[in-house]
Structure formats: C-alpha cells, structure tokens
C-alpha cells in the first residue's frame, strides 16, 4: 500500500484531473462546466479504452457501445421507472459489465484486425437492435419528462449534480487505469500486448485476463453514458452508438500515449479542445473528422508512442512522475 502512497505519478495524475475538474465548481460558470463535462467524459472514455487498447493491445472500435448501452439502461430506469440517477448509473454499469464479460469471452478469441472488425460489428448490431426495439423508443429514442429534474432541485442543479458525479467517475476511471497499470494483472496484460503466445507460455492465463480487462473497460463508460443522457434529457440510437466517437477515442489515446496512465488524460483534453476550436471555426467546421484522421496518421507515422510516451522515452527521469 505504501508503494502507492509514495508514488508521485499517482499524485500527479489525480491532481491534474482534480484541479481541472474542480475549476468549473469554483467559477460557477455554466459554459466552463459544459466544456469541462465533455473533456471529463472523453478522459473517462479514453482512459477505460486504454485498458484494452493500450495495455492489452486489442484495438476496440466498439468501445462506444458501452457508453450507448449504459446510456440506454440508465436513461430507461430514470425516465420510465423513476429511479434516481445514482442507482440507475450503477445498474447500467453492472448490466454493461456483464454484457462486456460475455461478449469479451467470445470475440477476444479473435486477434488483430479480426477483433477490430468484430467490435465494429457489435456496435452496429446493438444499434440496429435498439432501433427496432419499441420498448426503448425504437429509432426515435426516449425523452425525459422535465419534472424528473425536480428531484434534484430543478434542471440547473441537476446539471451541476451530473457534473459532480462525472468528476468522481473520471477520477475513479483514471485511478482504475493507474492501478491496473501498476499491478501484476496489468503486467500480464502488457505481456499479452507484446506477444500473446509468449505470454501464455510464460504462465499468463490470457483468455481470462483479456476478458477481465474488457469488462473493466466497460464499467465507467456505462456510467458516463447514463450521466450524459440524463443531462441531455433525451436519448436516441444515433447519439448513443456513434462509431466515430470510438475512433476519436483511439485518436486521443494515440495522441496522448497508449499504454500510459497519463496519456489518455492529456490526449482527451488536447483533442477535445482542438475539436472545440475546429467545430467553431468557419473554415474547418465540416472537416473536423478529416482532421482527426490526418492527426492519427501523423501520430502513428512520426510519434507512435504519443506525447506522454515520447516524453518518457526522451527523458527517462520523468518516468517517476509520469506513469
């Protein structure tokens, strides 16, 4: 335990998320809060995706399915069943983790490009399923009755409440990433990433480890999904299962540095700011995704280890504080 308390990397990571996340609470500015909500949301999505992509080496294009499915479960429980947002988010998380564990057991047998293709298929399959399921609103989706927000002291307070919950979830997901990265289990995942067959021969129960990693990566996206659509007030399949958000998640991880704790945090924040700039600039607003694609290409060609990875390689001394 002392090992963790003394680790500056743990403190730095926590502090960065905390300071940035608390900022809107101090300024009480709704604009800052909305900006920060998106950043924290992407930090959570990227950090959790990193467990599968960065540590285990499996490229998951369907990460957003956890977000969408969690959003649907949580939203349904809040809007239709009158649940409070916290139990709804936890139930969503539980449901999605189970889904991930079962799904992972099946598709993680595939490797490389085959796995990546399967994950795209899963996202599309779940979306089609939801579109055709009338109990959750089909293609139109669901809307939340405005009076639901009264439980939280009105819509304004509900937004702040959702933000605070998201901040907690983001911290938890970054900590999860850190603890996985520094654990024996995480070392096993890294070995699988480097050479799965060698890892098996070295004694790592790869099928089980991969499935656990996959399930862990689903915990927080599901909660974020619930919070996001709770805040939104409506949910529809197109918003919940956006394939390109998975791709953007990958760009964030590659930009920040795959396989590091800090990478997804840096990458998500940078990319989100960049995206905000591109979307509002008249010149680039339709080219935002093209830009993401070019960025990904450039990173992979020139700095495959990302910002944090590059710093760690270039300056070995920073490794102590930059996990």
């Amino acid at each position: 335990m002392m090992r963790y308390v003394r680790d500056p990397a743990l403190w730095l990571t926590t502090l960065v998320v905390l300071v940035a996340g608390v900022w809107p609470l101090i300024t009480r500015s709704a604009t800052t809060r909305e900006d920060m909500f998106l950043i924290l949301m992407f930090v959570t999505l990227a950090s959790s995706l990193n467990i599968v992509l960065g540590y285990t080496g499996y490229v998951n294009f369907g990460h957003i399915v956890f977000f969408g499915l969690g959003g649907y479960i949580g939203f349904y429980l809040i809007a239709e069943k009158g649940w409070h947002v916290i139990p709804a988010a936890l139930a969503a998380s539980l449901g999605v983790v189970l889904f991930a564990a079962i799904l992972g057991g099946i598709i993680l047998r595939l490797r490389g490009a085959y796995f990546a293709l399967a994950t795209i298929g899963v996202n599309e399959a779940v979306r089609s399923f939801i579109v055709n399921w009338d109990a959750v609103g089909g293609a139109v989706g669901m809307e939340m009755n405005f009076s639901r927000y009264q439980d939280y002291g009105g819509p304004m307070n509900a937004l702040w409440f959702a933000y605070i919950l998201l901040l907690i979830v983001t911290l938890a997901s970054v900590l999860l990433s850190y603890f996985v990265r520094t654990s024996k289990f995480g070392l096993g995942l890294l070995a699988i990433r480097e050479d799965e067959d060698a890892a098996l021969v070295l004694g790592i129960p790869a099928p089980k480890a991969k499935t656990i990693a996959f399930a862990l990566s689903a915990i927080f996206p599901a909660i974020v999904g619930t919070l996001f659509f709770f805040k939104n007030g409506n949910i529809e399949p197109g918003d919940a299962f956006r394939l390109h958000m998975s791709v953007e998640g990958i760009v964030m991880i590659m930009l920040g540095g795959y396989g590091t704790v800090m990478g997804p945090v840096v990458g998500a924040a940078t990319y989100e700011r960049l995206r905000g700039f591109l979307l509002t600039s008249p010149l680039f607003k339709n080219l935002q995704l093209a830009f993401a694609g070019v960025l990904l290409l450039l990173i992979i060609i020139f700095v495959p280890s990302g910002v944090v990875g590059w710093l760690r390689n270039r300056f070995p001394k920073v490794r102590r504080i930059l996990a």
Binding site: R3, A198, A199, V201, L202, P205
Partner: protein, 251 residues
Amino acid sequence: MSVILEVDHVTKRFGGLVAVNNVSFQLYEGEILGLIGPNGAGKTTLFNCINGVYTPEEGRILFKGQDITGLPPYKVVRMGIARTHQVVRPLNELSVLENVVVGACYGRENLSLEEGRRTAEEVLEFVGLADKRNVLAGKLNVAEKKRLEMARALAARPYLLLLDEVLAGLNPTEVARMLHVVRKIREEGVTILMIEHLMHAVMNLSDRIIVLDYGSKIAEGTPKEVANNPKVIEAYLGDPDLALSLVEERT
C-alpha cells in the same frame, strides 16, 4: 532415480502430416536429456505438446505422475515446466527486468509483483544480464535475447526446463558462456530437456540422448551409444567418422 516426465505414445498430426509419431520416453529427475534430429524431425512440436501449446491426438504426458495432456500452457507453467523458444520472443516494449518479472510472477510460485522483482533480480544476476535490467528487451542483441529467454524461464522456478536451441546463432564465446549457465542450472537441481543442433555441446552436456527422425524415435541412449547407432548415423549425422570424432572429443 524417479521419473519426472513421462511421454507415453504421443502422436501429433497436422492434417496428413504426422509431426510426432508414437513417441515414448521417460525423463529422470536431475538429468539432462538431449533431443536431437534433423530439421523437421518434430522436436519443437514435441516440446509444444509437452508444454500445452498443442494437444496431441494420441498418447499421454505425465508430469510428476499427473496427467498434463491438453492442459493450456499457463497451467503447465504453474505445475513447474518452463520453456525457452527457438526463435526468441522477448516482450519488446518492456524492460529486461519486467520481462523476467513476468516469468517470476506467473511461474510456478505465483509470486506477487514485489517478490517477483526480487526473484527476477537474482535470475538476471545468475544469467549475467543484471547490468541490462533497464534496457528495453527489443534493444538486446541475439545472445542477450537468448539469455533473456533463459532468465524468463528460470524465473518461473521450474522443476523441468525445456530448452529449445539456446545455443543456435551464438558465437563460440557466447556458446561457452551459455553452456556454463546450463550446467549451473543443473547443479541447482533442475531437470533439463534440451533440443540442440550443436553436436559437441549436446554430446558433452547430456546424460542421455533421444533421436527423432520424421516424427519417430529412432534411438535412445548415452551419447556414445547414440553416436554409434547406425540408424542415427544414417538419418542424421551422415558421416560415421564425424560421429566417432565427436564422441572422442567428449572423452
């Protein structure tokens, strides 16, 4: 001497090709058993059957009296069989130390990360890689990678070590160094089954030798017996005079 490993009528087929054909042998505790044969004789396939990478179609493999046929490799390691690969497989983006820690943590003793690190440091010292502990494994040269393979396998604290051509591709100095390590391992009481093409090494090190050809066992015995066996000479060594000279080198 007690039997540590028993390979009992093992057959492994790939489609129409019989890679290992009805092979049986016993391995005694503490000995070094050499496994030789021409390229494609099925030596590595036999290793893969023993450590669980492949499941043989027929036959059984008993380790310390327990049937381990068809167990996945990670369970076989837990029981105390570690192996090295003919083509080295370092975990490139991890440091040398981390590579060995993986071996220690997931090996027979199932150590925690901290205990694993201690074991790894000891093993690195043992194989002479301690000064490279923080280098990325991908940056090592071939000889060092071979020693890393060895270190990773040893860190699992196995009862039985399967060595697949640890001497291949090494220069004479490196070979001598590796042989020294292998002898030290045996002194620690680890049983060794080794595939080797370097004749003088295998003849010198082994207590007994098994010869495979086209998947079948064609000879078994002391190095001298094997080298004098006409079948072996025909299948493998080709030149009887060379065989004799090799044996003389040993004595």
